[in-house]
Every structure is written in structure tokens, then in C-alpha cells.
Symmetry: C2
Subunit: 241 residues, 2 copies
Amino acid sequence: MDKRLNDGQDLRVPAICRACDARHRGICGAMTAEQLAEFSRFTTRKKIGAGTELHGQGERVISYANVLRGVVKLTKVMQDGRQQIVGLQFAPDFIGRPFASESTLTAEAATDAEICAVSKGALDRMVATAPDLEHKLYHQALLELDEARDWMLTLGRKTAREKVASFLHLIAAHYDPECNETVAFDLPLSRQDIGDFLGLTIETVSRQMTKLRQEEVIIVENNRHVIVSDMERLARIAGID
Amino acid sequence: MDKRLNDGQDLRVPAICRACDARHRGICGAMTAEQLAEFSRFTTRKKIGAGTELHGQGERVISYANVLRGVVKLTKVMQDGRQQIVGLQFAPDFIGRPFASESTLTAEAATDAEICAVSKGALDRMVATAPDLEHKLYHQALLELDEARDWMLTLGRKTAREKVASFLHLIAAHYDPECNETVAFDLPLSRQDIGDFLGLTIETVSRQMTKLRQEEVIIVENNRHVIVSDMERLARIAGID
DNA sequence: CGATGTCTTGAAGCAGTTCAACCAGGGTGG
DNA sequence: CCACCCTGGTTGAACTGCTTCAAGACATCG
């Protein structure tokens, strides 16, 4: 039986959660109807515009969030302004760092997005008593760690060309987990953000994109829309095994 | 009362664990005497020489380990041989990736080391039933994620000089958590490894070390022994806030 | 004491940055 | 409705920091 359908009829589950896309895929999937009901008293679903900051580097954190739609970027900055994106969160990812009062990074919407924010206290309390929830969070942390380490290889050892291809591959793979031969999508990041993600300048990103376009690895429309006709080829250029 | 002393007299705790340095600091700290007794039937304490591989990238993993002494490096390689160190594990760190059968990286002793290996099955079973243990593992995963993201900033946005200084700072801070003004230590990595950690060539690492030596930021003896006289200054050069 | 591996130093080359100009699209106001 | 500007992206030319390639110094160990 489809759990989602079943759940949609379970009136103990809050209405807002019953209508939520991320209900089963995200951390909420680990909660019972009763827990959700209790929990939802501390959650707020909201739409945020691109550029909205959820919390800043060095700030005290008072809430966590789940991404429901859009992309949130996690960035670190040095005093002199140099910037590095250290993570991209897609739906239904969890945003926040349990067991730390201060954030070591900034979380900011890269695109228009929708999130379900929850007070830190409420989640911390629930984590302390619900092993299933902590298990789910642990699971996501491990996935993020895998991603971070993959990206370290990209940052440390790949050429600009490979980096840009790796980025395109990452986004494409996210939009099409089936990994079809051809994929089309809108880039969730500006050229500046792509540069900050890849450890490159905006000019280098632009030049490499142009080259990939000329070689017909990608087709670009309106600067943001990208069509990859041969994912295999892109992966090869990206240096992905 | 000192828990360690107390524990040393508790005969339900296996002898090998009673004598273990990492007993309370590592994940074992989350276990009861009974759990340890059960658990120790599946653990093997062993000394391994520098260069010993614990598991390789792409291999099936059959055991986890705790570092008791020495340093273990986690590396990723591309088919053409380019290599990146994506993590350094010190005592009492846990090595392994729960919930994955295959490893996406290689774990290899960077120095002579001592580890406490445990069969994957035994730990997985215990994790499934002991929330405290999973909590501890989750906690470490989050710390590793923090470290990985810090390093992404280093890899993506720092100059060779700042990278080398950052590395020295990292090692120094590990040997002296008190953060005294002056710290002396042996480098746990060869120049090649340092390069692979920083995304630089061995020559660039060497040149930057020479420069730092000439500026008297560090004193180097026998290539491996380093003395930092002014940690503040090193941090400034490393671009650490 | 030579042999081997590790580290340093030097010189030349190149990938990516920097600086500057240009272009396209989209909104604003005269 | 067009001139204007403003933002985000592209392109070009000169520069530079890191790499590459090659040789030499140093330590360690049979």
C-alpha cells in the first residue's frame, strides 16, 4: 500500500504535513503521526526569495529548516571577502548543525525557495528522545560528508574544464536521478556562485562554458537553461570514474 | 570520581579495554561494561606500519576501526593517478562508513599506528540497538563534516602559502589543543602527502616551507620535526579568522 | 661507503587570474 | 516609444603563481 495515500487520510497527521512533498523523503519520514502533530506546533512553512539569508557565519542559530523547493547554498567567507560554497541543499535536505550553538557557515537561498523552518529547541528535544529521527539525521550527515569529500577531490585536483563539467554533471544528476542520456535543466546558480563553488573566477567559468558549448557538449539558452545531450561524455570530461 | 579509575577496577570491562587510551574519548565511551564485553569478542587490537592499507577505494568493507595511536589518511584517487587526501584521522577517531557496503575512499596509515579493528557486522548490529552509540557516531560525523568544509575553503580559495600555513596550523592545533604560543611536533605526513592534502605539488610545498623557515615562522629539523614559535602569527598567515 | 629514497632548488612553461572593454536583456523614466 | 542605465555574462590581452621538468643536496640504511 502506498504510504503517502494512507497517510493523507490519517487525520492525526497535521494538514500541512499531509500536503508536504518532503513528508516521507526528508527527516519527517522518521516521525509518527503523534510526533508530527506535536512537532508541527513549532514549524513554519515559508517561501523565501533568492538571496534570503537563513543564518550567517558566526551567528547564533535559533532554528533549523527543511528545504521543500529550490536550492540553498552553504558558504564560508574569509575576512577579505574570498568566498567558497561548501554545500548545496536540495529538497528534502535538512539545514542546520545539531549540537552547535553557533554556525560556522552562512545558509542562503540560491534560488527562490520554500522551506519548513523549525525552532532549534523543539528539534533538539525531539532528537534527544527519538532515536529514529537521529538515525535519519545521521544518515543525511553521512551523505553530506560523502559529497563534501567528493568535492574536495574536485577542488584540489581537477582542472577548470573538469571542474565546470563536474558541476554541470552534479546538477544534471540531481535533476535526473535516472541518469538518462540527455538531460535539460535550469542552473540554480549564477556564474559568480558557480565560481565560488568551484574555486574559480567568474571569467574562467564563463570561458569553460563557452568551450563546452562550442564542442557541443552542452547547449545553453538564456544563460541559465542547459541541455546536456550525452551525460556519458560529460562525465568523462568531468573525470568521473 | 575519575571514571577511568573506576572503570579500571570494573572487572566486567574487558582487560584490553581497561588498558585502552581511547576507551572514554572514542565511541567506546558510549558503551556499558556489558556491551564492551560482548563487543570485544569481535575486536582486534593491532599495530600497523606506515603505508598499511585498511581498505581501498571501491572495495567491499568488512571491518571498521578506531585509531588508538598514529595518523590514518583518507584518500581519493582518479584513474590517471591524481590523488587527494580528504581526511586525517587521529586517535581516538572512528574509521568507516556505516550503512554503505563499498568504500568510496582508501584508508591508509600515514604513520606507524595502532588500531582497534572491529567486524562490520558486530558494530552494525550494536548500532541498531544502542542509540547512545549511534549518537556518538553521529557526533563524530558532524565534526568530520565541519572539518571537510573548512578544508574546502582552504582548497578552493587559499594561496599555496596560506595552504601550507593552514596545514601546519592544523597539525599544531591537534598536538596542542591548549593553543600555547609555541608548539613543537613531528609532521605525520611526507611532503608528497602534504601536497596531496593541499592540492599542490611536492615542489610548491617544499618552496613554501622554505620561505616560512626563512621568515622564521617555523624552525624545521630533520625535515619532519617542526617548531612553531608564534601560533598567532601562523594563523594570520594561514588566513584563519 | 655506495645506494636509495626523500627533499630542495632552479629555470621554463602554462593554466588560470586580473583588468578592462564589450554585449545582451530588462526595467525606468523622460 | 525610445534613450538610458543597470545587472549579469562574455571576450580579449597581459600578467603571475603554480606546475613541470631537471638537477643537485641530504638523510638513512644496508
